[in-house]
Symmetry: C2
Subunit: 456 residues, 2 copies
C-alpha cells in the first residue's frame, strides 16, 4: 500500500495542476449565461474518468444540467461505494471583494483561492485521484466504486432525485461517500453523522389595498407590519420553544450517550461569542450551544420587509408586509409535515383584519447515520491514519437534503468525509481550500478504500 | 359686499390663469436640483403681493428657502389675521402615472390636475385673490392681514420656527388662517379644529457582527429579526392599548360633548372598509373609528427590514433588523417626552443577546383650537354663506406641526379652512383640486374677512 501513498505524494503537483484546470471553468449553475461552462465542467470530469480504467463512464442528460457517471466493479462480494459530488459552483459575487479572480486559482499561505476550491470541486476530486493512485501503481482496487457528479447542487438539485429514482439499479450501493462538509477545526478531522433538515416558508400579509397615510388612517386600520410582528413573536415562547402545534412530535430526543459525546467536543463558548461580537447567546432552554445548533430544531426569520425602508421618515401605513421564515429540522421531522403545520398555525393565529398567505419554498429531510455503521468506522480509522488524530463524530446544523434522499431511495447511509474548514468562505468571496487538506483528502480516501473490506 | 363677490365671479378665468402660472413652476423643495424654481415660486408670490396695495411686501432669506411676507394694517383695533401657506411642492414621482404632466396644469371634469394644485398653491392662493377682490373694487378691507408663505413645508419646515421666533413682533396676530387641509367630503365643508402630533422613531437591532448561515448558527444565536418582532409585538396589547409606561398620562380624554359631536358626523363604516379592501377594522378598544383616527394616539410601523428580501430562499441568519415606528399624538402629549418614553421602554424590553439602538426622527405637537374661539365661528358662517351648508367641526388624524408652533410662539390659534378633498391625491400622481372649490375658496375667504370684525 505504500506504493499508492507514494504515488499520491509524488504526483501532488500534477493533481494540483488538474484541479486548477477544473477550477478555471466558471460552472455557475445559478446563472443561465454559464450554461456552456457548466457543460464544460461535466466534460472535464468525464475526461478524467475516461483516463481511469473504469467499466463505464458517461454523461447522462437531464432536464437540467448533465450528470456524470462512472463505475468500476472489481468483485461483487466486496462493498460498493457510491461517491457523490457536484461540479457546479456558487456565483462569485460580489466580485470586488475577491483578492484574486475567482476563476484564476492561486495559492496563498498554503491555501488554494478560487470559487469551488472547497465547495465542491477540490473536495470531490480527491476520490478520483485516490482511484488513479491505485490504478497507476497496478494495485488492485479493494472495493467497487461508482461516481455520480451532478451540476445542480447550488440550485437545489431539481433533477437529481428523479435521476436516482429512475436509476436505482445502476446506483445500487452499500454506502454513499460525500466530501462536501467541513472538519471540526484545522487539523481536527471529524465525520458528520447528522444533518438537519429544512422547511422554508414565506408569510405575506396584505392589509389595506394601498399604502395609507398613517395620520389619516392610523388607529382604525390594522397595520400589516405590526400584525406580522405579532405573528412571528408568537411562534416561539420566552424559552425559545417553538409554539406550533405538533412541531416536536417527531423529534428524536437526545440520549444520554449523545449528550456525553457532545460534551467531549472541544468548544469554547466565550471564544464563540467573541468571534460573533455577542454578549450573550440565546436558544432553546435545556440544551447547550452545540446541541442547539445541530440536534435541536430551530425557527429563524431569514428576511423581512414592509413599508418605507429609506432614509429619514415617511408616515405611511403600509399595505403589505412579508417575511421569510425557515425551520431547521432534526430526525424524524418531515419537512412537508412541518410546512403544513406551520401554515395551519400561522393561518390560525392571523387576525381577520388582514389577509395572510403562507407559501412554502424548498425543503429537505434531516438525516442521521448510524454510529455503529461499519463504513463510518472505516472512515474514522482512515482519517486517524492520515491525520494522526482520532476524528470526532459530529452533527451539523446545516442541511444536505440529498443525504436523506439516498437513504430513502437507495437505502444507503452516507459517510460525510469532509476535508474543508468552516472558514473556507464557501458561498462568499475568497473561497479557499487548504492545499494540504486536498492532498490529505486523497490519502484519506485511498486509505478508506483500503480499510473498508476488512470492516464489512 | 356684492361688489366683492361679483368681482370674484367675473375674474374667475383670470384667477385660474394666474394659478396655472404658479403651478407651472416646479418648486420641488425635496430636490436641490430645483433650487432656482423654488426661488421662482417665491418671487411669483412676491410679485402678486406687490400688485396689491399692501403696506409691505418682501422676501426674507433664511438658511434654506426664502419666506415671502406681506402685510396690510387697516385699523389697529380690528382683528389681525396671519395667512400661512407654502409654495413648495412634493416631487411628482412616479412620473409615468400622471395622465398629464405634473407641471402643465389641465382641467378635466372640473378638476385642476397639477402638482401643488391642492397642496398648497391652489388653496393658499385663494386668500391673495380675496384681498384683491376687496382692493380692486375699492371696498375697505375689514381686518388687518399678514401673509407668510414658506418654501420648506414638504421638508419639515426646518427654518420656519426659527423665523417665527425671531420675528414675533412682525408676525403678531389674533389668529392664523391656513388652507392646507381637506373638507369632510365633496360639498361638505368642515373646519379642522384638532390635529394629532407625531413622534417618529427608528429601532435598529444588531445581532452578530455579520450575516450567519442559519443552519450552522441557528438555534444558538439570537435572531435580530425575531427580536425586533418580539419588541414591536409588545408595544400594544390585544386591545390595541399602547404598553409604553406613561404613554397615556397626558392624553386629554374625550368628553361626552366631543363624542356626541363625533356621532353626528356622516360616516359609513361599511363603505370605509370596502374602499380599503378590508374585512374588518382594528383599533383601540372602547373607541369608534373616527375617534381612533383623530382623538386617540396610535402606534404604527411605517417600515421594517431585515435579511434577505429577494426571490426564493436564502438561509441567512441576519446580522441586523430595523423598523421605523411612529406614534400619532393627541393633546396634551409632548412629542419629546413620548420619544423619550418610547426609547426607554424599548431599551428596557430589549434582550442582552442583541444591541438595540433607538433614534428619533422629526416630531410635532398635537394641536386643538378652542371650539368657542370667535374666529372659528366666523369661519363656519363664511362657509355656510358660500356652500349653503353648515360646516362640520372635525379633528384630523394627521399632523401640521406648525399649528402648535404658532400657538406656542405667537399665542395664536389657527383656523384650518380647508377647501381640498381627501381624494385630491396630494403627494401622489394626478394631484387635483376642484376648480369650483378654488373659486368657492376665494368667496369663503372674502366672506370670512367680512364677518370677522363682527364676531370679535
Amino acid at each position: 500500500m505504500s506504493e499508492v501513498a507514494d504515488y499520491i505524494d509524488i504526483n501532488k503537483e500534477q493533481f494540483k495542476h488538474e484541479l486548477f484546470d477544473f477550477l478555471r471553468i466558471p460552472s455557475i449553475s445559478t446563472d443561465s449565461e454559464y450554461k456552456n461552462e457548466v457543460i464544460d465542467a461535466a466534460n472535464f470530469l468525464l475526461d478524467k474518468l475516461n483516463n481511469l480504467d473504469l467499466d463505464r463512464a458517461e454523461v447522462f442528460e437531464t432536464n437540467g444540467n448533465p450528470i456524470v457517471y462512472g463505475e468500476l466493479i472489481t468483485d461483487e462480494s466486496k462493498p460498493t461505494v457510491l461517491v457523490y459530488g457536484h461540479y457546479d459552483v456558487q456565483p462569485p459575487d460580489p466580485m470586488d471583494l475577491w483578492e484574486t479572480p475567482p476563476f484564476d486559482p492561486k495559492v496563498r499561505d498554503g491555501d488554494i483561492y478560487a470559487r469551488g476550491a472547497s465547495d465542491d470541486k477540490g473536495q470531490s476530486f480527491t476520490h478520483v485521484k485516490a482511484l488513479e493512485a491505485y490504478q497507476k501503481t497496478g494495485t488492485d482496487f479493494p472495493v467497487n466504486i461508482k461516481f455520480i457528479f451532478e451540476g445542480e447542487e447550488e440550485i437545489g438539485s431539481p433533477n437529481l432525485v428523479p435521476f436516482i429514482e429512475e436509476h436505482k439499479d445502476l446506483l445500487e450501493c452499500d454506502m454513499v461517500l460525500i466530501s462536501d462538509t467541513a472538519m471540526f477545526a484545522e487539523d481536527t478531522p471529524s465525520i458528520t453523522y447528522g444533518l438537519r433538515g429544512l422547511a422554508y416558508m414565506e408569510i405575506n400579509v396584505q392589509g389595506p389595498n394601498r399604502d395609507l397615510h398613517s395620520g389619516v388612517y392610523g388607529g382604525a386600520v390594522d397595520n400589516p407590519a405590526n400584525v406580522l410582528c405579532e405573528i412571528i413573536a408568537q411562534l416561539k415562547d420566552e424559552d425559545g420553544v417553538i409554539q406550533i402545534d405538533g412541531f416536536y412530535d417527531d423529534v428524536v430526543e437526545l440520549t444520554e450517550d449523545d449528550r456525553e459525546a457532545y460534551s467531549k467536543l472541544p468548544f469554547d463558548e466565550e471564544e464563540y461569542k467573541e468571534k460573533l461580537g455577542l454578549k450573550a447567546l440565546k436558544g432553546e432552554k435545556g440544551y447547550n450551544t452545540l446541541e442547539r445548533t445541530s440536534a435541536r430544531p430551530t425557527l429563524d426569520v431569514n428576511g423581512m420587509w414592509s413599508g418605507y425602508q429609506g432614509e429619514g421618515a415617511k408616515t405611511v401605513l403600509p399595505a403589505k408586509a412579508g417575511a421569510k421564515v425557515s425551520m431547521r429540522l432534526v430526525p424524524d421531522q418531515d419537512p412537508k409535515k412541518i410546512a403544513k403545520l406551520f401554515k395551519e398555525h400561522v393561518e390560525s393565529i392571523a387576525p381577520d383584519t388582514v389577509t395572510v398567505e403562507v407559501n412554502e419554498h424548498h425543503g429537505g429531510h434531516p438525516a442521521i447515520t448510524d454510529l455503529t455503521f461499519y463504513g463510518l468506522q472505516a472512515a474514522a480509522d482512515a482519517f486517524e491514519a492520515v491525520y494522526d488524530k482520532e476524528p470526532f463524530f459530529t452533527r451539523e446544523g446545516g442541511s444536505i437534503p440529498i443525504v436523506a434522499d439516498f437513504q430513502k431511495i437507495l437505502g444507503a447511509q452516507s459517510i460525510l468525509m469532509g476535508f474543508g474548514l468552516n472558514s473556507d468562505a464557501i458561498h462568499s468571496p475568497n473561497e479557499k481550500f487548504a492545499l494540504k487538506d486536498f492532498y490529505r483528502g486523497i490519502h484519506t480516501s485511498a486509505k478508506f478504500f483500503e480499510l473498508l473490506p476488512d470492516y464489512s
